[in-house]
């Protein structure tokens, strides 16, 4: 292969410096520091160390790890959807309201039965019907965006209000109040409900127990497993990573966000890409809601409030550029860890007012956005 290259290039640069040579020096280290996720990764490491110093055991004991990962996983699930869509150059501000809507839909069906008097709802039926509705709404949002060429910011902002309002109305109409509580503990009896609300990776805590690191005051095993949402996060993020970095549609997503006109001129179905990704964020919001409903057996109209902004923020911290075309799922995994950890752990540090966490997150977001902008300039505006 190398020989063809040299033959073909006969007339260029034989002996003297050509343009291409200027980039040859990029070794593994330079490649590493130029990866889009490097900033988020460094931030995460610093944060982990600081937390160990400031809060210590409370954060890293078996229960601390479980609780932190539950928060991180929840955020990670919706951040994955938000990140894919942002790379394709669009926003979805309806994620939080979609979570509330999906939770309402599932809980109301579980409590009051299927629509049209079709009898009691199983967890599977409640989930599938809800998923059909949310995917349809995602399709609608995406279709409005690509057909009207309105900014997705405005279209999805409209749906932020529309869905939140619809959620409250549905709650009152079908349930009488804006919350459902006291559902049976489906995860104990129903395999499907346990997939969302149960525990996962129990072996991890079994091993810790066996090592003598995981016992309660009575000497029995303390924590028994991670929340199922951790597994969902890993599956969704893993699938998204694979699609984005290894498949054809992944290249279409980057192309759509990087230069939509160019993508279209080269035959990329940019509208289909966008609509599918709006449906994907709706899917992620529905999974988020399912893990919540089947874990706590409750739902209320305020669920998911502001989550869309947290998802976007975690994506930005993970290196995704607001204007699209650049970013990685691995970065967003780190971004979700940073966000989740800070949200959950600052409260363990006794000498800090817990409310500083928002101030801190805002600062992290700003720094991340600035560094992303530097990266973007380096690629688009020359060196």
């Amino acid at each position: 292969m190398a020989s063809t290259t040299e033959n073909g290039a006969g007339s260029v640069g034989a002996g003297h410096q050509s343009e291409a040579d200027r980039l040859k020096e990029a070794g593994w280290f330079s490649r590493l520091v130029h990866r889009p996720e490097i900033g988020a990764f460094s931030g995460m490491v610093v944060l982990l160390v600081l937390l160990a110093l400031a809060a210590g055991d409370v954060v890293y004991n078996p229960l601390g790890i479980k609780n932190n990962l539950a928060i991180i996983a929840q955020l990670g699930i919706i951040a994955t959807g938000a990140c894919m869509l942002m790379i394709a150059g669009e926003f979805d501000l309806s994620i939080g309201s979609m979570i509330g809507f999906a939770g309402m839909s599932m809980a109301v069906m579980l409590k009051w039965g299927l629509p049209f008097g079709l009898g009691p709802a199983s967890p599977l039926a409640a989930f599938l019907i809800t998923l059909c509705i949310t995917l349809a709404i995602g399709w609608l949002i995406g279709t409005i965006v690509v057909r009207t060429r309105l900014s997705s910011f405005i279209v999805s902002l409209s749906f932020l209000f529309i869905l939140r309002g619809a959620t409250e109305v549905c709650f009152r109409t079908f349930n009488g109040s804006t919350q459902v509580s006291g559902l049976p503990d489906y995860k104990q009896t129903d395999f499907f409900a346990a997939l969302f609300g149960g525990e996962t990776f129990q072996w991890f805590y079994d091993v810790l127990f066996w090592l003598g690191l995981n016992f309660n005051r009575a000497g029995g095993q303390w924590v028994t497993g991670f929340d199922a949402k951790v597994a969902w996060w890993l599956v969704i993020a893993g699938a998204a990573w694979f699609v984005l970095s290894r498949t054809q549609v992944g290249n279409w997503i980057y192309a759509t966000g990087g230069n939509e006109e160019a993508a279209r001129a080269n035959g990329v179905p940019t509208d289909k890409v966008k609509v599918s990704l709006f449906m994907f964020t709706a899917f992620c919001a529905t999974i988020f809601a399912a893990t919540q409903v089947f874990d706590t057996n409750t739902a209320d109209a305020a669920k998911g409030n502001l989550k869309e902004l947290e998802a976007i923020a975690a994506s930005v911290v993970g290196g995704v550029i607001l204007s699209g075309g650049f970013g990685s799922i691995i970065g967003v995994v780190f971004g979700a860890v940073i966000f989740g950890l800070v949200q959950n752990s600052v409260f363990y540090i006794s000498w800090i007012d817990g409310s500083y966490y928002r101030t801190f997150l805002g600062t992290v977001l700003l720094v991340a956005a600035l560094s992303n902008e530097t990266i973007r300039k380096r690629f688009t505006g020359g060196i």
Binding site: M1, T4, V12, A20, R246, Q248, V249, Y254, F379
Partner: protein, 260 residues
């Protein structure tokens, strides 16, 4: 003399009352660079848009390989082997050279659109195709944004050729570049020309660049062909005069001389 790959016969394009092209005829031969010159508003852009299938001519005919063709849309033109490299190059600066080269036409294993990218093969092809027209890229996975303007132009040209362009339309390929980069692009054009099977239509403002690579000229002014010919028959003076719109320029020079 080879058969013309593409022949335009009396192409007229009107937009309402405005006649953008008033009966343009030209021939483009494989292995030749055909320079299309003219001042702003001469109709160059309209002509290439007709060739690229963006506009349909009001009257007149386009022949490819001697057969009359009608391009209803850009896709039809590109299927007929007409590759247009516009000034913005249709690239995504934030992703790799390979990802841009294969944008929308990726080599995959498995079912569309979730087929797995054959990255190693695509990298190899990208590197080879770029090298064939004279640019040696060190790393096909580098971001396009890190390439020089000339390299980007080469990437867009290599891509058009690889995906079947036999007529390559280059729209002001040297206009936004520095001196050295301009020469690099001209070198690329000559490399493509030397393959012998591709016809190049070079749209430019710059008569020096045209003289360096062109075999044949067509001069447009106000939607009309005001001169054409092969390079050997045209002197630099002719080229400069025709480029500026012929007689208009002489008038302007007189007017200029009249002002003190």
């Amino acid at each position: 003399m080879s058969e013309p790959l593409i022949r335009l016969e009396n192409i007229v394009k009107r937009f309402g009352n405005f006649t953008a092209l008033g009966g343009v005829s030209m021939e483009v031969h494989p292995g030749e660079v055909h320079a299309l010159l003219g001042d702003n508003g001469a109709g160059k852009s309209t002509l290439i848009k007709v060739l690229a299938g963006v506009h349909q001519p009001t009257s007149g005919a386009i022949h490819v390989d001697g057969q009359p063709v009608v391009f209803r849309n850009p896709l039809a033109a590109s299927d007929a082997g007409i590759g247009t490299v516009y000034q913005d190059l249709a690239l995504n600066p934030l992703t790799s050279v390979t990802r841009n080269f294969f944008m929308g036409r990726e080599i995959t294993k498995g079912t569309r659109p979730f087929g797995i990218l054959q990255t190693a093969e695509m990298n190899r092809i990208t590197r080879e195709e770029m090298a064939r027209i004279g640019i040696n890229i060190a790393d096909p996975e580098q971001a396009v944004g890190t390439m020089s303007g000339g390299q980007k132009q080469t990437l867009a040209i290599a891509r058009a050729i690889f995906f079947g362009a036999r007529v390559l339309i280059l729209d002001e390929p040297t206009s936004a570049l520095g001196q050295k980069q301009q020469l690099e692009v001209l070198k690329t054009i000559k490399q493509v020309r030397s393959r012998g099977d591709i016809a190049i239509i070079l749209i430019t403002h710059n008569e020096v660049h045209a003289q360096l690579v062109a075999d044949r000229y067509t001069f447009l002014s106000l939607g009309q062909v005001i001169g054409s010919g092969v390079a050997e028959d045209l002197g630099g003076e002719d080229i400069r005069r025709l480029m500026a719109g012929g007689a208009q320029m002489a008038d302007l020079e007189e007017e200029l001389a009249a002002i003190h």
